[in-house]
Amino acid sequence: MWEDIKDFASTFFVTGDPLIYGADVSIVLTMLAIVFVLTKYKKWGWLWREWLTTVDHKRIGIMYLIASLLMLFRGGVDALLMRLQLAFPNLEFLHADHYNAIFTTHGTIMILFMAMPMMFGLFNMVVPLQIGARDVAYPFLNALSFWLFFLGAMLFNLSFVIGGSPDAGWLSYPPLSQNDFSPGPGQNFWIWGIQISGIGSLATGINFIVTILKMRAPGMTLSKMPLFSWSVLSSSIMIIFAFPILTITIALLFLDRFAGAHFFTMDGGGNPMMYLNLIWMWGHPEVYIVVVPAFGIFSEVVATFSRKRIFGYKSMVWALMAIAIASFFTWAHHFFTMGTSASVIAFFAISTMVIAIPTGVKVFNWLFTMFRGRISFKQPMLWTIAFIPCFLVGGATGVMLAVAPADYQYHNSYFLIAHFHQVLIGGVVFGYLAGIYYWWPKLFGFKLDEKLGRWGFWFWNIGFYICFMPQYALGFMGMTRRYYTYGWDRGWEDLNLVSTVGAFMMGIGFIFQVWQITYSIKHGERDTTGDPWDARTLEWSIPSPAPFYNFAVVPNVKDSDDWWATKQAKANGTYKEEPVHLEPIHMPKNSGIPIIMSTFWFLIGFGFTFGWVWMAVVGFIGVAVCMWVRSFQYDTDYYVPVDEVRRTEASLGRVL
């Protein structure tokens, strides 16, 4: 009996590595600390009522933000570990299997559990406020999306201490990811972590499409809608078409592993290339899904900090939509080297390059928004300006990759690694950081400290170029990605060391940002006006932080930069004060079902990961019961009485 337990434990828990024991201990300690604090201050009820069951888009946005920052840390630590291992030739810091697990989790976490939730966080924090709505179209579904993401991410991260991490690359190509070559639960964690959070992402896509199409304030026609909201629409369109493909692809991979199917196996008529084909049909749109909202953020920030209307609004909208559609016709550029026909390769090479055209238009429009403007270098603007050169060069190397015959030389080399970090960090991370700095005061009511922020900014930026520019050169030297080590004979050592130094500079930048946040909570400049940047769109017309119902009175929009126009009119004295008429506000009720149902999904994932079918069955029954119960709930919303609205507004310093 005891032996059995020991046996079980030694395969169940990941053992044998001091790093992991360290992680185990710190996880247990953190959990205990959280439980202790919550119990001591009697905060369990508060946590449940105010956060875990909330359907308020602003709170959900904040939860996404916190989770994604934690994931940025985890993914970043992975990155630093990899860079440490590669700093010198023949280093024995990480063994091959450990290194392989780390780049796999790094890539997966950064894209699916860092970039995606940070993006959803920004969607949630901004879109309803920007279009003058009181919430998203489906607040309950929104909460469900968040919890599905969160529990999916937790399931994935659990692999670090239980069962073992996946180690077949962030897109887990078969046959390597099949049972024959990747036995054990690691790969299943990958499948189920992504599957569960993927369902949430799909729901978020639907939610925001309907929100944007149907919940805009009166007068805000689509042609007056701010560009960030447009970019969210574009991104959501890609989500709803791309994510079902992902769902199926990894479901099929799971069937191969679990039910002995032969979709992507080497034998039995399976076809591993079909997996490559399918996963990139999702994977390529995916990278645009995450970058397009960053484009939206830049559009808002550039206009605000140049104190000028965005240039070429129509072109910007067309470009966003063109990117969304075109992104579905380029997927094969990720396997030019698969040996398929020349016409396929030629077609996808051209379709890939075509994306440079609308992207370029956006860059030019940003530049000409600054042109004849007045640029002030606040934090959001700093990141935006830094983005431009970084993304230009990264985009240009993307176009070079699209030259298919040349790609035979770049493919899977560090040239590729450099390309995508340049667009992912220079585009996505810089963009989201710009967005977070920009909208932070709206969410929390205070600004983030400028001085610490600048330190963070410069470390990130300089670190970035030091880290990734040498990698282009390494690619030309033949250095292949996913090498856990290399010898002295190739001449790769100098540039690798430089690259590692740069990576650690980015790490220092991140530390400055964490410091900045903790510092600013106490000492940050408070935002009493609700409009700290003298900005242009609706979200700045209400107090910071926004009351739970967002708008006491739904605004009537007349201009594409409506708040700016209002301020202008007030300054010119042409503003016509309209009598305020308050009405009871219709709001959704909180619900515990999203978190409970997602927990059952977690059970399904965990059960299948270890092949414990009974647990998965319990999970499925739980999910079904949750849906049943929800279907029978009719009392799902309520009205906020006028009195309460008036009181709340008064407490925020607004007289109505």
């Binding site: 179209a137 489906y138 799909l202 639907i206 939610n207 499409i209 309907v210 199409l213 149907k214 919940m215 009166p218 709803i240 078409f241 994510f243 079902p244 493909i245 769902t247 199926i248 692809t249 479901a251 099929l252 069937l255 191969d256 039910a259 002995g260 199917a261 032969h262 979709f263 034998d267 039995g268 008529g269 399976g270 076809n271 079909m274 399918l278 049909m281 017309s541 009175v553 739904v554 605004p555 009537n556 929009v557 007349k558 409506d562 708040w563 126009a565 209002t566 309209e578 009598p579 305020v580 008429h581 009405e583 219709h586 079904a624 049943w628 279907s631 029978f632 009719y634």
Partner: protein, 201 residues
């Protein structure tokens, strides 16, 4: 810039609008389901000839049962339409009755499918037989699973209709359900054509 009043008269309640919103959302969900099936069809098309020495579809498919399921599902699509008609006329009893007919037909379809699958497994064609059979079972099974979920939903809805009658919420739910049901019918038509008819050619 503040609107003093919603510039429309409050002739109808807010519920109605919220429910309208959910119809659009559900429609979009159905389109994403189209993509899901499209991916399965693509997989099936690529694996169509990967028999790996195992049995082929032509050898094992038994069309009579399939034809029966096809007409059953077609009819159920029609009866779910009749349910919506009854709803528009405000007749709860009739609505529930037509839903019940639809559910029975749907159940018959599922039973036939389970039957077919057991038959195939008997003949030695399982998920693990070859790429072709993996693709077959997944594609057809996913459709069957959708039908089963629809049945589950239909039962819940009939209970709600009984309890609450026709109102904005139940109206929206019936609309969505029938949309879903028609959609499954369409998917089946393509399954029938691509998998079975082309399979026995």
């Amino acid at each position: 810039m503040m609107a003093n009043h919603h510039d429309h008269s409050h002739g109808h309640d807010h519920h109605e609008e919220h429910e309208q919103l959910k119809v659009l959302g559900f429609w979009i969900f159905v389109v994403t389901d189209c993509i899901l099936f499209g991916t399965l069809f693509a997989t099936y098309a690529v694996m169509m000839h990967s028999f790996a020495g195992g049995p082929t579809g032509k050898e094992l498919f038994e069309l009579p049962g399939i034809i029966a399921s096809t007409f059953i599902l077609l009819t159920s699509s029609f009866t779910s339409g009749l349910a919506v008609l009854a709803m528009n006329k405000g007749k709860v009893k009739e609505l529930i009755a037509w839903l019940a007919v639809t559910a029975v037909l749907g159940l018959a379809f599922v039973v036939l499918e389970v039957n077919e699958f057991t038959h195939l497994m008997h003949e030695g064609a399982t998920m693990a037989t070859s790429g072709f059979w993996s693709a077959f079972f997944t594609l057809v099974g996913t459709h069957g699973l959708h039908v089963s979920v629809g049945l589950f939903w239909m039962v819940a809805l009939m209970m709600q209709l009984k309890r609450r009658g026709i109102n904005a919420v139940t109206r929206r739910k019936v609309t969505n359900l029938s949309l879903y049901w028609h959609f499954l019918d369409v998917v089946w038509i393509f399954l029938f054509t691509v998998v079975y008819l082309m399979g026995v050619m």
